[in-house]
C-alpha cells in the first residue's frame, strides 16, 4: 500500500484546508501522522507547468482512470510504461487505465518527447499524481465508510474495509465529481518498491493489439468526413525560388479542389489521393525554379568540408596540466568521421489539418505538440490558442523527422479550404530529401600513454553542425514550408546545449579517469545540408570515436581492450556492465583474431548521466570482398530501476540494430545541389538476413532512479562493430560506414 494518511476528516477542501494550516492556499495535501511520509526533495519537473491534478488524472464512473501525459508514443512503448506507473500508484489494473497522450487541447505540457527522458519526467509526475489521487480517493472512502483510512485496502480500484464493505473509485467520484480537481502535490509518498505489482514486470505493450489487428491506430488511418488529400511540390534543390507553375491547368485536372501557391510554396488538394498525386506530378512538371545560391560540399571529402565551415568553438572541458614530456612514452593520434544519416522512418511523414471558423486543428506525429503549435501559429499569423495540435501515432520516430514540417504543410493546404479536413502525405522522396538529417561529424583525438600504460594526456576535438533545429527554438521559425513563403522566415541559429546533455558534444567528455584532458567542440555555423536531431544527437559520433580510440590506445599499450577500459574506469556501475557484457560474451583477454573472426567491445554511459551500456560484437570478415557479416551482439545494460523489463530489452535490441546499421551501411548521398539518397535503394539499411542474434543482459539496480533506455545502445553498438572489424582486419577504417569497398581500400 502507498502512503496512507490517518486523518479521516470530512473531505471537503475547506475542512482539509482548515486542518492543514499553511497549505490552505494551494489545497495541497500533506499526509499527516502514522506511517505516511512526506516526500522530500524537489517535485517532478513536469509539475511546474501543469499544476492541476485533474490535468493528469481523471477517474470516471466506470472505475477507469484516464491518464494524461504530455509525452508521445513514438513506437518506443512509453505509454505502456507510463500506464504501469500510474496504475501501480492507484492500485488499478492495467486494463483500468486509458492513456491520453500529447495534445495541446487535453494533455499537460511536457515539452518534447526526446532524449530518453519520458520515464524520468512524465513517469515521476504520474507517480506523484497517482499517489496523490489514490490518497484522496482512499480518504474519501474512509469518510463514506466511517472508518480510519489506514484500515482500508485497494485492489483494482475497489477500496475495501476490514469488515468487508467496499467502494469503487468510480462510486467515490460519482459522489464527489470535483474530488481530483485541485492543485497537484508531490508530497504523498509513492508506494515502496517492495509493494510493486506492475512496475518492474514485463507487460504486454498496450498499443500492440490494435496495431496487429489493424484497428486503425495510426494517423494514416484517420478518415474525417469530407476529407480531401494533399500533396506538396518541393523545389529541385533547397533554397530554389519558384518562378512559374501552371496552376490553371492543374486546377482543371480531375478531382483537384485547390492549388495552393504562396511565393515558393506549392501544393495541391484533390478529392482522391491518386488525383492529388497526379496533380502534384503535373504541377511539378510545369514548375520553373531558380536554383538557390547554396552549393553542397563534396560528399567524398566530408572531413575536409567540415573543417572548412564557419564555426563557433568552445572548450567544453579542460582539466589538469599537460604532463611532463618524459612521462609520455607513446603518443597516439587518430581522426574519425561519420557521414550524414537519415532517420529512415518506414512511414514518410503525414498530417491531417482542419481549418474552420478561424480555428486550426492539426493531427500530427510530432515529438512536441506545444512547440509545434507555437511555430505554426507564428507562421500563420494566428493566436496560439486558435491552434490545436494533437499527437497521433505514426511510424517509428527516432528524432526530428519531417513530422512538424508535414503538419505545417497540411495547415497551409487546409487554410485554403475552410471546413474541409486535408490529409497530407509526404512521399518517400520528400522524407529522405527534405526532412532534417543527422549531421556528419569529425572527431580528432590525441592521447599520451605512460610507461605504466595509463592515459596521461587526452585531447579531443569534434566538428559538427547543430543537432537541434526543432520548432520552438529561439531565433528562427523551424518549419520547412515557412522558409518558402517569402516572408523571411529562417531556421534558428545553432544552439549551444550545456553539458552533460550537449548538442554535437553530447558524450564528448569521456567518463574514463583522465587526469589531463582538453575537449573542444567546434559547432559549425554554416549549414549547407539541413540538419536536426536523430537518436543520441552527437552521442553516437562521440561514443564511436572515443571507444574506437580506447581500443587503439589499448593496442598501443599492449593491453586487452576490456582490461584497459577497466583500468581507467572508476564508476562501479560502469565496471559492472563492462564486466557483465565481457562475461556473457565469453571474452578472452588478449585473444588474437585468425583474420576472419573479429570481436570488439565498447562502453558508454549515455549523456554521461543516464543508462550504462557495454556491447560486445562478433563478426565474420571476408578479406577478399571486404564484407563484414555480423555473428552476434551481446550487451549489458543498467537502466536503474526497471519499469518494464521486456520494454527495456526491446529498446536496447532496437538501438543495437540501428547502431550496427548506421556503422555498416548508412550514408546520405548528395551532389552539389541536393540530396540524392531519395529511396531505399539509395539509402540501404540492415535487413533480416543481416541482423545477428542479440542478447541483452540487464544489471538490475532496483534502488536507483529509472533511466531511459531508448538511445543508450546505439553508439556502443557502432563502436563495438568497428573495433571487431579492426580486430579481424588488422587495420582500422575510421570513417563510417564500413562498406566493403571502403574496407577493401584500406587493406
Amino acid at each position: 500500500m502507498g502512503a496512507m494518511p490517518q486523518a479521516s476528516g470530512q473531505l471537503t477542501r475547506r475542512r482539509f484546508g482548515l486542518g492543514l494550516g499553511a497549505v490552505v492556499a494551494t489545497f495541497s495535501l500533506v499526509p499527516v501522522g502514522g506511517r505516511a511520509q512526506v516526500v522530500e526533495g524537489p517535485p517532478p519537473m513536469s509539475f511546474a507547468k501543469n499544476k492541476r491534478l485533474e490535468g493528469w488524472i481523471a477517474v470516471s464512473d466506470d472505475n477507469v482512470a484516464t491518464i494524461y501525459t504530455g509525452k508521445a508514443e513514438l513506437g518506443q512503448g512509453i505509454l505502456t510504461a507510463l500506464a504501469q506507473i500510474a496504475a501501480e500508484e492507484m492500485d488499478l489494473g492495467l486494463d483500468q487505465v486509458r492513456m491520453v497522450s500529447a495534445s495541446t487541447a487535453r494533455s499537460p505540457d511536457e515539452g518534447y518527447t526526446f532524449g530518453s527522458q519520458s520515464v524520468e519526467q512524465s513517469g515521476s509526475a504520474l507517480r506523484a499524481a497517482g499517489a496523490q489521487a489514490r490518497w484522496l480517493l482512499v480518504a474519501a472512502a474512509a469518510e463514506r465508510l466511517q472508518v480510519d483510512a489506514s484500515t482500508l485496502k485497494v485492489e483494482r480500484g475497489r477500496v475495501r474495509s476490514a469488515d468487508g464493505r467496499q467502494l469503487a473509485y468510480g462510486e467515490i467520484v460519482r459522489g464527489d465529481a470535483a474530488l481530483l480537481e485541485r492543485d497537484v502535490s508531490a508530497r504523498v509518498r509513492p508506494k515502496p518498491r517492495a509493494e510493486h505489482k506492475l512496475v518492474g514486470r514485463s507487460v504486454t505493450r498496450i498499443d500492440l493489439p490494435g496495431k496487429v489487428m489493424a484497428h486503425g491506430v495510426f494517423l494514416q488511418d484517420m478518415r474525417l468526413a469530407r476529407m480531401a488529400f494533399g500533396r506538396v511540390v518541393r523545389p529541385p534543390s533547397p533554397g530554389a525560388v519558384l518562378e512559374t507553375a501552371d496552376e490553371k491547368r492543374v486546377r482543371a485536372l480531375p478531382g483537384v479542389v485547390a492549388v495552393v501557391r504562396i511565393a515558393s510554396f506549392l501544393g495541391v488538394v484533390a478529392e482522391r489521393e491518386e488525383q492529388a498525386i497526379a496533380a502534384a506530378k503535373a504541377l511539378q512538371a510545369s514548375a520553373r525554379w531558380t536554383a538557390g545560391a547554396l552549393t553542397l560540399p563534396d560528399e567524398n571529402r566530408l572531413p575536409q568540408a567540415l573543417k572548412s565551415f564557419a564555426r563557433d568553438d568552445t572548450v567544453i572541458k579542460e582539466t589538469g596540466k599537460p604532463p611532463e614530456p618524459a612521462t609520455v612514452v607513446k603518443w597516439v593520434e587518430a581522426s574519425y568521421s561519420r557521414p550524414y544519416l537519415s532517420h529512415g522512418s518506414i512511414g514518410p511523414s503525414c498530417a491531417l489539418a482542419s481549418f474552420a471558423d478561424g480555428r486550426l486543428t492539426v493531427w500530427s506525429h510530432t515529438q512536441g505538440v506545444f512547440p509545434l503549435r507555437g511555430d505554426m501559429a507564428l507562421a500563420l499569423g494566428l493566436p496560439p490558442q486558435s491552434v490545436d495540435v494533437i499527437h497521433v501515432q505514426a511510424a517509428g520516430c527516432y528524432g526530428h523527422n519531417g513530422a512538424d514540417d508535414a503538419a505545417f504543410d497540411a495547415a497551409l493546404l487546409a487554410r485554403a479550404l475552410p471546413g474541409r479536413p486535408v490529409k497530407l502525405q509526404w512521399t518517400r522522396q520528400d522524407e529522405f530529401a527534405w526532412s532534417p538529417i543527422a549531421p556528419a561529424m569529425l572527431m580528432e583525438a590525441k592521447a599520451g600513454l605512460s610507461a605504466e600504460g595509463r592515459i596521461v594526456d587526452w585531447n579531443y576535438e569534434l566538428w559538427s553542425n547543430t543537432h537541434a533545429t526543432r520548432p520552438g527554438q529561439p531565433g528562427g521559425l523551424n518549419l520547412l514550408g515557412a522558409w518558402y513563403l517569402g516572408e523571411g522566415h529562417h531556421v534558428s541559429p545553432p544552439l549551444k546545449i550545456p553539458q552533460p546533455f550537449g548538442n554535437g558534444d553530447r558524450n564528448a567528455v569521456p567518463l574514463y579517469e583522465l587526469p589531463r584532458q582538453r575537449i573542444v567542440h567546434h559547432l559549425l555555423t554554416e549549414m549547407p545540408l539541413r540538419t536536426g536531431s536523430l537518436r543520441t544527437l552527437g552521442g553516437h559520433g562521440n561514443i564511436y570515436a572515443i571507444e574506437c580510440f580506447m581500443d587503439e590506445l589499448a593496442l598501443a599499450a599492449g593491453a586487452d581492450p576490456v582490461a584497459f577500459r577497466l583500468a581507467h574506469l572508476p564508476d562501479p556501475r560502469a565496471r559492472a556492465v563492462l564486466q557483465a557484457a565481457a562475461d556473457a560474451a565469453g571474452w578472452k583477454p588478449g585473444a588474437a583474431s585468425d583474420g576472419k573472426r573479429g570481436r570488439g567491445v565498447a562502453y558508454a554511459r549515455y549523456k554521461n548521466i543516464s543508462t550504462y551500456v557495454a556491447v560486445v560484437v562478433d563478426i565474420d570478415f571476408d578479406r577478399a570482398s571486404g564484407k563484414v557479416s555480423l555473428v552476434r551482439a551481446v550487451a549489458a545494460v543498467d537502466v536503474g530501476q526497471i519499469i518494464n523489463p521486456d520494454g527495456v530489452v526491446s529498446q536496447c535490441e532496437g538501438g543495437i540494430v540501428q547502431g550496427l546499421s548506421w556503422a555498416l551501411k548508412e550514408r546520405m548521398r548528395f551532389d552539389a545541389l541536393a540530396v540524392t539518397s531519395v529511396d531505399w535503394a539509395g539509402y540501404p539499411i540492415m535487413t533480416f538476413d543481416e541482423v545477428p542474434p542479440i542478447e541483452i543482459h540487464i544489471v538490475d539496480r532496483p534502488d536507483a532512479p529509472p533511466l531511459g533506455a531508448g538511445e543508450a545502445t546505439v553508439g556502443p553498438a557502432s563502436a563495438a562493430l568497428a573495433n571487431a572489424l579492426a580486430h579481424a582486419a588488422g587495420k582500422r577504417l575510421r570513417d563510417l560506414p564500413l562498406t566493403p569497398e571502403r574496407v577493401k581500400a584500406i587493406l
Partner: protein
C-alpha cells in the same frame, strides 16, 4: 477513364470506382477504409503495403487496381476469424514483435503466405521470406520469433 471494378476483398465483394491505374493500396485504404496495408514508399521497396492476392504477397502500392481482376485480396484487417486473432497476430503480441508497428502489416502478410505453403519453415527460410521487408525499429529477431511461434501453433 473512371471505371468500376468488382473486387473481392477479405471474402466480400467490394465494388470500387476509380481510374484503372490507381494503385490498389489507395483503393484499399481510402475507398474500403482498411487499415492493414500502409504507405511506406510507393515504390515496392519496403513491404509495408503488402496484401495477399490469391494467396501471394503483393506490394499493393505498385499494383494497379485493373490488374487485380477477380483475384481474392486478403489484408491484415481480414485475418481474424469471428473476432479471434489469427495465430500470427497472437504470436506478434506474445513475442512483442513490434515497436512502432508500422511495418507489422507486411511482416504478418508475408509470413502468412509463407506458413500457408510451409507449415514449419526454418529460421533461415523465415529470414529469407522477410528479407525484402524493412523494419527500422530493430524488431527483426522478435519478428522471426513470432513467426516461429505461430508456426509451432498453440503451446
Amino acid at each position: 477513364m473512371t471505371t468500376t471494378f468488382q473486387l473481392r476483398v477479405n471474402g466480400r465483394p467490394a465494388p470500387v470506382t476509380c481510374e484503372p491505374d490507381t494503385p490498389l493500396l489507395y483503393v484499399l485504404r481510402n475507398d474500403l477504409a482498411l487499415n492493414g496495408p500502409q504507405f511506406g514508399c510507393g515504390l515496392g521497396q519496403c513491404g509495408a503495403c503488402t496484401v495477399l492476392v490469391d494467396g501471394k504477397p503483393v506490394r499493393s502500392c505498385v499494383i494497379p487496381v485493373r490488374a487485380v481482376g477477380k483475384a481474392a485480396v486478403v489484408t491484415l484487417d481480414g485475418l481474424a476469424k469471428d473476432g479471434a486473432p489469427h495465430p500470427l497476430q497472437r504470436a506478434f503480441v506474445e513475442a512483442q514483435a513490434a515497436q512502432c508497428g508500422y511495418c507489422t502489416n507486411g511482416m504478418i502478410m508475408t509470413a502468412k503466405a509463407l506458413l500457408d505453403r510451409d507449415k514449419a519453415p526454418s529460421e533461415a527460410a523465415i529470414r529469407q521470406a522477410l528479407s525484402g521487408h524493412l523494419c527500422r525499429c530493430g524488431s527483426h529477431n522478435r519478428i522471426v520469433q513470432a513467426v516461429r511461434r505461430a508456426a509451432a501453433g498453440p503451446a
